[in-house]
């Protein structure tokens, strides 16, 4: 097992207790990337970002440079930062928001300059009370330092940044729902097309939406150059990425590792990373990219952490979360809990999603409670087929947003990998792991 000695691009300051302060930020190269950017033309900054193949870290993995190039030309345009982080078991942006808010702010200003947008909004999930405090304080200090506001560092470029709190709704992470929420409405995803807010976004104006981690890479890219970034990783998956490792591992936490050069095995077992599974237990399955991602089994741990590699294997790196389940895990309960999440968070606009999630949750619950029927497995797949025809990967969509088509991922994986365990619940009329506590 090897863990490459790639530089820490977004977590370099986390060793300091005061990593969130302007003083520490300036003492560790802070705002140098922005100064560099302002000495270049906006086109050249955009080119530099396009050159590094910075794949979006929010879930969809769309290259930032390409997204930026689609921004419709208009007198008013916006950058919106997605800090809603609510995908189950994803907790990397939380770290960046609380521990290195200036890095985010600097990334935002660099992006605004490249895009020549007029105002940026940083949308942070409402539960991050400390995160909201820290980012707002960073914005205040950055104004004082001349890094935001009028005539930034004497460059003749000006912007304002507004920090905006959410109020508890997973769906607001979907970028069009986020824009609705930012407009003061219910977080209902918008009907596509247009597929990108770059055409019609906030208040109907062209808007780029980027994830917190995506933008936090920019100061380093500008300071160190695109070549240093693309020297890391492989293929389209360049640089490093944050992985939030959770579940049955010795050391759950957020790890920044080099893409592709690191495997799931490294992440889960390396002593300096996950440290393996506690209690001498064995790996049963793991979820590679958030609750929306199909599961992997122990035979897939050698897969590299690369977007295309994981995609070809039938799942996704998604939001950069890895949930490890050991051999004591009841997979019916796990699939039920994930489905319950989707049911609770469905915004309710689309019938297959609103109704389907509820039915799936109830059926899984009754199997877990030992009241399932043999025909339930077929029924689960049938309802899943209504949500994502064919239940293939990547999923087909019948709904306004991909929350709906993501629901079958865990159910189909669990049934495919552990059919016998479902059947045992049904045959024995109980869960082999004992009755589940109700929720």
């Amino acid at each position: 097992m090897t863990v490459t000695d790639a530089p820490k691009i977004v977590t370099s300051r986390l060793g300091y207790d005061d990593s969130h302060t302007l003083e520490r930020y300036l003492a560790t190269g802070g705002y140098e990337g922005l100064r560099k950017a302002l000495s270049m033309t906006p086109e050249d900054v955009a080119k530099e970002v396009d050159a590094v193949s910075l794949l979006g870290r929010g879930g969809a993995g769309f290259p930032a440079g390409r997204k930026w190039s689609m921004l419709r030309k208009a007198p008013t345009s916006y950058l919106v930062v997605n800090g809603d982080e609510s995908e189950p078991a994803t907790f990397k942006d939380h770290l960046l928001i609380e521990r290195d808010p200036h890095q985010l702010v600097e990334g935002v200003v660099i992006a605004c300059y490249a895009l020549q947008v007029t105002t940026a909004f940083i949308y942070i999930r409402g539960e991050f009370a400390l995160g909201l405090e820290r980012v707002t304080a960073a914005v205040n200090d950055a104004y004082g330092h001349g890094a935001i506001g009028r005539d930034i560092f004497g460059s003749g470029f000006s912007i304002d940044i507004v920090v905006h709190p959410g109020a508890g709704a997973y769906i607001c992470g979907e970028e069009t729902a986020l824009l609705e929420s930012l407009e003061g409405k219910r977080g209902f995803p918008r009907i596509k097309p247009p597929y990108f807010p770059a055409a019609i976004g906030l208040y109907g104006e062209p808007t780029v939406v980027n994830n917190v981690e995506t933008l936090s890479n920019l100061p380093w890219v500008l300071s160190n150059g695109s070549a240093a970034f693309t020297a890391l990783g492989e293929g389209r998956s360049t640089g490093t990425r944050l992985f939030a490792l959770a579940g049955h591992v010795k050391n759950p936490g957020v790890y920044e590792v080099e893409m592709v050069k690191t495997t799931f095995r490294d992440l889960i077992y390396a002593p300096v990373l996950g440290g393996g599974i506690p209690g001498g237990r064995e790996l049963k399955a793991f979820i590679p990219g958030g609750a929306s991602a199909p599961w992997f089994g122990p035979d897939q741990v050698e897969l590299p952490l690369g977007q295309d590699e994981v995609g070809a294997a039938g799942s996704m790196l998604g939001s950069g979360s890895v949930v490890v389940m050991d051999d004591s895990t009841c997979v019916v309960r796990a699939a039920w809990r994930i489905t319950r999440f989707f049911w609770r968070e469905s915004c309710g606009q689309c019938t297959p999603c609103r109704e389907g999630s509820g039915w799936l949750e109830k059926i899984l619950r009754r199997i877990e409670d030992g009241e399932g029927r043999e025909s339930d497995l077929e029924l689960l797949m049938d309802i899943s087929d209504n949500l994502a025809p064919g239940v293939s990967w990547p999923p087909q969509q019948t709904t306004i947003c991909v929350l709906g088509s993501s629901i079958p991922s865990s159910i189909a994986s669990a049934i495919r990998m552990f059919r016998d365990e479902f059947l045992l619940h049904i045959k024995d009329g109980s869960c082999p792991q004992g009755p589940a506590p109700h929720g």
Partner: protein, 216 residues
Amino acid sequence: MTQSHLAPEVMARARDIVALYPHPRSALIPLCHLAQEQDGWLRPEAMAEIAELVGITPAEVLGTASFYDMLHTEEVGTYVVTLCTNIACMLRGAYELLHHAEESLGIRTGSTTADGVFTLEDAECLADCGRAPCLQVNHRFFGDVSPEGFDKIVDDLRAGRLADEVPHHGTLVRTERDGGLRVEAETITAERRATAAAMAERAATAAAASEAKANG
């Protein structure tokens, strides 16, 4: 003049927030957080004033607020305990902890203790899964919570020993923007126009150069 329900200092902060946005309605969620900071929950009187501040009807405020889990349209306890039971926390004993919490507080999930001190909720992922099982009290995090740890948090809250860590309601209670927007619309328009012109000129020069090259 009748006195407003929102206290003058809350009203002043609310107006500052409205001024940050191109359209007042965008301030709706932050203003709801402010109202909860004052009242603990969203009282109808507060929603009526928020409606006025952002230029919509009280029904629209309620209709929007009711979409969001953090906005309480009914009264809640002094401390809202939200315990995550999503996958990563469940794998590390969240439901066992939730049961313990119900027994220890003597209430079911979703309700408030008779003395009005605690409301218990089961939450979706709070993005602190590295310290599972975890919970929030008035949106301040507690990680790696054992049943004994839970009881200690409850005791400490009752005894006022966590007053520094866990403030009163309202997720923005310690968030204060110093100053409003700094850049006037005209400045932005002028700058952007100048940059767009310069960019167009660079593009034209580059196009001419490449054409000259192609021609010989």
